[in-house]
Structures are given as structure tokens and as C-alpha cells.
């Protein structure tokens, strides 16, 4: 379907590196205790991706269970407002409410293939945790989800969903008590449980093979969108966009367009209170080359290489690292990465709701906000946005931000809203 050639020019190479110039992004900086398992996972995954039976089963699950392919939708009222043609890839309509279900079904099928009986996962916003709990319930696997204590509080609804699905949610109170610490804790679990447990990693980061494997399970987003946009509009978009935390939805969208040299690719990182403040998660924009969670990539870090705590209103983007292939694409100049502040994202969330009747996730609202900026710079352009998730989980944050509970404030009229 796609002309993209990941594994070829874009990588990774056989050692799990995404190369740009003299930098080898990615790789595998992990305890020896996990190396044999990562080798086996790489072998099983490679074998599965060449096995028509596995691919058919994956495709069937996505189609019959997850609601894939998701719609490509022309947002006409938003387009009118923006002065450009805005197309939305509606991943928010997938089962469990985000693109995450694609990755999780792929990894859960691999876990079954490897004879594992238990899945563990980390989660930030809770979307990956819910997706993992869903796949575990569907396939009859045990499930434990690590979630930063701060995130369990701001995403209480998703904690309840995971519990209802039969998963154990473990609140992590070490470090900054957010996504990065949940990953640390999940790795610690995995070192001790690897014999029967698969680590269902939630983003296209971490040690090889996760960045490539998660990308390939998510790349249907872009592969579908590329076909849909050609069928519906007869031409490729001018610009393709997505929000970037770890970067699974973004790499899933971008991969199909990497070889389309005329298509501009832009990722939007969480700018938090602003990149001029210390409170943001704009890893590529403001980070430096380092190693975090097993991969060489851009990292928010201090002079001594200690990870700096990130901030974003959206738990799913609140991560001080980023998938290594995004670092590669940024370094090569194939994609740009720009920050979007909390306030810009919340304004876009309200605007999309008012113009299109779609309440998206705050993560995805970053992509909408950034795309509105691009629209202003490129009037008349066709911009394809990956609307990666829906906003049900974010209602608590929205109520607080817009002051929705205290009065009948109109969020459309109060940019920035009540904090």
C-alpha cells in the first residue's frame, strides 16, 4: 500500500539503530538480564511479520474488533475557520478511543505466540493501559498496568476502566510519579517476571525492537490515510501532522509519507506553559542527545545527564524522552517538530468541539492547534491531521480549565479559559 520503506533507508539497521549522519539513534541500552528476551522478541516479531496467518489474524482483529480502518473525514467548518483544507484521520473512533489499540493487539498476539500468560504495561494518559487491559481481557491474559500516581489522579476515569476490565493498576510513587517512572517500574517488574510476562510497551520508544515494532503495528494509520486521501481527493496532502509524546501515533501516521518528498511532515510536542519556561515536554525542541529507557534519543536532561521532569496538561505527552526514529527524522530534517502550549491545545480542543462536534483527546488537540498555525502560514493547503484519540477521559481537566462546572462559561469565547 505504502511506498515507505522502513527497515530499508529509514531503518532500523540489524542492530536496532536509526542512523542520521554520525548519530546512531535507538539501539539497546538495557540490563543483560533482558537482552536474551529482547533478542527472542525480535526474532518472533520478525517471523510473525512474514507469516500470512499472523498478519491475517491481526488484520481481522483490527477490522472486526477495533473498528479499523478508521474514517478519513474532511472537517469543513474547521477548514473554513482555518483557511485551509483540514482532513482528520479519525483514530478517536477506534475501540477504546485511540490509536493505541492497534499496537496493543499486535503485541498481545505476539505474547500469545511466545506462550506468555501475563501482560504488563506502563501508561500515562491511561489510553495505553486501557487498550492493554482490553487486549488482555479479550485474549484471556493476566494484566498489570503501571501508572504514575499523579496520572492516576488526573485520569481517574481510565483507572476505573482498567479495573473493570480486570487489570491491576499499580500507582507508582517514585521519582516524578508520571510516565517515565511508570516505565522504570514496569522494567523492574519485567526483569523479575520475563519468563511468563510480556512487556506491552506503549510507544515507539525504548530498546530495540520496540521502536520499530510499535511503528509497524501502528503504521496502518498512515497506510490507510494515504489510500483514503488519494481515493477521496485525488492527491496527496501538502502537510501531514500528529502530536508527539513518545510518538507512536505520529510515527504510525508519518511512515507511509516518508518517501513522498513533496509531503511536509510536522510533529507537535507539548509546550506546556511555554518552552521559555521549565514546564514543558518539548523533547526534540529543547532536549539534547542522550540515553533514556534503553534508546539513544533526544532527552530533557541537565548538565549531568539526569532526566528533567517534563510537564504537560496532557498526560499522554508528558514524557521527557521521544521515540528514536523521531530524533532521526528531526536530525535529517525530514520532519519538523514544534511546540504547542497547554493554552493553545485547549483552545483548539474547544474550537474543534464547536465547529465539528468532535471532542478529541488533549494530546490530539496539540496536533489540531499546531495545524491551525500551519494553516495560517499556508492558506489553501491540504493538511492531514492524525486525530489520535477522543476526549472522554479528559473531561475532568476540561471542566477545571474552562470552569465548566462553576458557571455556563463559553469556552469558545474565553481563549485560555479559567485555570
Amino acid at each position: 500500500m505504502s511506498t515507505g520503506t522502513p527497515g530499508g533507508f529509514w531503518g532500523p539497521d540489524e542492530t536496532g539503530h536509526f542512523v542520521s549522519g554520525d548519530v546512531q539513534w535507538g539501539g539497546r541500552f538495557m540490563p543483560e538480564a533482558l537482552i536474551a528476551e529482547l533478542d527472542e522478541l525480535t526474532a518472533v516479531w520478525t517471523d510473525a511479520m512474514a507469516d500470512p496467518e499472523f498478519l491475517d489474524e491481526f488484520a481481522r482483529l483490527l477490522r472486526e474488533y477495533a473498528g479499523v480502518p478508521s474514517l478519513l473525514y474532511e472537517a469543513t467548518r474547521l477548514s473554513e475557520h482555518a483557511g485551509a483544507r483540514i482532513l482528520l484521520k479519525r483514530e478517536d473512533l477506534n475501540h477504546t478511543g485511540a490509536h493505541k489499540i492497534r499496537n496493543v493487539l499486535g503485541q498481545a498476539l505476539l505474547a500469545k505466540r511466545m506462550g506468555k500468560t501475563r501482560l504488563i504495561a506502563e501508561t500515562g494518559a491511561g489510553q495505553h493501559g486501557v487498550a492493554t487491559a482490553t487486549a488482555a481481557a479479550y485474549l484471556g491474559l493476566e494484566c498489570a498496568v503501571y501508572m504514575g500516581k499523579v496520572d492516576t489522579e488526573r485520569q481517574a476515569l481510565n483507572v476505573a476502566r482498567m479495573n473493570l476490565l480486570g487489570a491491576e493498576v499499580i500507582a507508582v510513587d517514585s521519582g516524578s510519579m508520571t510516565l517515565k517512572d511508570a516505565i522504570n517500574e514496569a522494567i523492574r517488574d519485567w526483569v523479575a517476571s520475563v519468563e511468563h510476562t510480556a512487556y506491552c510497551f506503549g510507544t515507539a520508544a525504548g530498546p530495540h525492537p520496540f521502536p520499530a515494532m510499535v511503528r509497524d503495528f501502528c503504521r496502518g494509520i498512515g497506510d490507510e490515510a494515504r489510500v483514503q486521501v488519494l481515493e477521496q481527493f485525488g492527491a496527496l496532502p501538502d502537510i501531514v501532522t500528529a502530536c508527539v509524546g513518545g510518538g507512536s501515533n505520529a510515527i504510525g501516521m508519518f511512515t507511509a509519507f516518508l518517501d513522498d518528498a513533496d509531503v511536509r511532515i510536522v510533529g507537535f510536542e507539548a509546550g506546556g506553559d511555554g518552552v521559555e519556561t521549565p514546564r514543558h515536554a518539548a523533547t526534540i525542541h529543547a532536549g539534547e542527545v542522550g540515553v533514556l529507557h534503553g534508546a539513544r534519543t533526544y532527552v530533557l536532561q541537565d548538565e549531568d545527564g539526569q532526566t528533567i521532569e517534563s510537564h504537560s496538561i496532557s498526560a499522554g505527552l508528558d514524557y521527557p524522552g521521544v521515540g528514536p526514529q523521531h530524533s532521526q527524522l528531526a536530525h535529517l530534517g525530514r520532519a519538523d517538530y514544534q511546540p504547542v502550549t497547554d493554552a493553545e491545545a485547549m483552545d483548539a480542543l474547544a474550537l474543534l468541539a464547536r465547529t465539528e462536534g468532535i471532542i478529541c483527546a488533549i494530546e490530539s488537540a496539540h496536533a489540531v492547534a499546531g495545524s491551525l498555525r500551519l494553516a495560517a502560514e499556508n492558506p489553501g493547503a491540504t493538511i492531514l491531521i492524525n486525530l489520535s484519540g477522543r476526549g472522554d477521559k479528559d473531561m475532568g481537566t476540561a471542566i477545571e480549565w474552562f470552569g465548566l462546572a462553576s458557571s455556563d462559561v463559553d469556552p469558545g469565547e474565553t481563549p485560555g479559559g479559567a485555570r
Binding site: T15, G27, R28, F29, M30, P31, E32, A33, L34, I35, A36, E37, S174, G175, K180, D181, N184, I187, R188, V191, A192, V194, E195, G290, V291, L292, H293, G294, V299, Q301, E303, D304, G305, Q306, T307
Partner: protein, 272 residues
Amino acid sequence: MTASSTAAFATARAEGRAALVGYLPAGFPDVPGSIEAMKTMVDAGCDVIEIGLPYSDPVMDGPTIQAAAQQALEGGVRTQDVLRAVEAVAATGTPTLIMTYWNPVERYGVERFARDLANAGGAGLITPDLTPDSGGAWIAAADAHDLDKVFLVAPSSTDARLEMTTRACRGFVYATAVMGVTGARASTSDLAGPLVARTKATVAGWGGDLPVGVGLGVSNGDQAAEVAGYADAVIVGSAFVRPLLDAGSDRAAGLAALRALTEDLARGVRAG
């Protein structure tokens, strides 16, 4: 340079016993306090000291070492402080290594780190999240400065990886006796003996002479004696951190407990 841990292992071997390797993070409870604690461990019978470089994301550490490292970071410990601690402890004549996650070394500059560590009299590095197949830059820098390269092997390591890893080591090889993070355990693992045997057979197979240390879980003299029965070194971490955590601000009590524990473990490695 003669800072390598090799000499300490040779001495222990000549005495017909295992060596005792003790770990504490630098900067816990503060930089001078950690130096004093490590000198106490040297004085009470540790043959080799591992100084932990506190890191924000220590994926191989359990709650005890996490808590100490967190306290050190909150106290503002810097990489330079860790190198100063190495200098102070190595001055006792006891081989002193740094145990560190990889990012702080890469950030400091691999060659610069190796040079400054050698200049401080340090013996080398133990690298829990860097395997030789990802460690080309460190291996080159360590070789240039004659530093120990201590990589880890695990019960899950394949035979091929055991050979690759032991061939890349200098000083000793660190056998992680359990599949899990650091932390004292009630009983030592039944995976340790077979792992040490496999590792020794591998080293003999390529004609090497590399001591095998066993770490993760040892907390008293009896356990140390058991491990000393089959390993060249007993590596103790969390158990040394625990009395200092428990003593809190009563530093004299913490050091007294640390001394008593070290003596118990030193007896253990001589009984094995």
C-alpha cells in the same frame, strides 16, 4: 596504573577466600557522609568499593537503593562529587569502581569520564545498563586509560553472550544471581551457583582468568559464606544502604551498624 581491582582479587585468592565488594551511592546521606561511610567499610574489611553514581531513572535498582539515590540527588550531588568521592576512597589503597547507568557517562563525555576517573585513582566502571555489544565507546576509552570494565551476566544470558561478555571484561565479571532488581533477600538464589559455574566454564573455555563476583540479595555473613563457597567475590549493595537509611540523622549509629555488618560479611567470605 595499579588501581585495578585485579590485585584485590589476587590477594583474596592467595588467602584462600572470596573478596568482599561493597556498594554505596555517593552523596548519601551527603558527600562527606558517604565518603566516611565507605572508609568505614574499607576499614572493617571490604576488599573493593563500588561507588554508585545516583541517577534519576535507575531501572535495575529496588526501593532501598532508589531511596538513597533519590536522597543524594535531592541533596544536589553532581558527577564531579562522585569523582571526588572516588579520589578520597581510592586514596586508602582499596580498589574503587563507579557503578553507573550509562547516560551520565555519555553526558559527561566518555573519554573525559575515563580520563578523570583514572586521574582520581579509580579502578573502572560497572555498567548495569550497558552491555559490551552497545559499549564500544566505553571499551575504547577504558582500554586507553587501563580501567576495569565490569559488565554483567545473568541467568538468562546465552552461552554465546557469556563468552562475548566475559571476553570484554577486565577486573572481574558481575554475575546477577537473581532475575530481578537490587535488594536484600531472605535466601540467596538457586540460580547463582549454576550461573557462576557456567561463567567459569566459559572463561576457562577461552583460556581466560577472570574472577566472578556474585551480586543481588546478600545481606548477612551466612549468606556471604554460602556464596563464597562457589564465587570469587561477594557483592553487597542494598544491605549496606539499609543501616544508613534506618539510622537517619543519627550518623554515629548508622556507621556503627555499617561497621558491624561489614565485619559480619568479612567473616562470611572467609568462612565460605
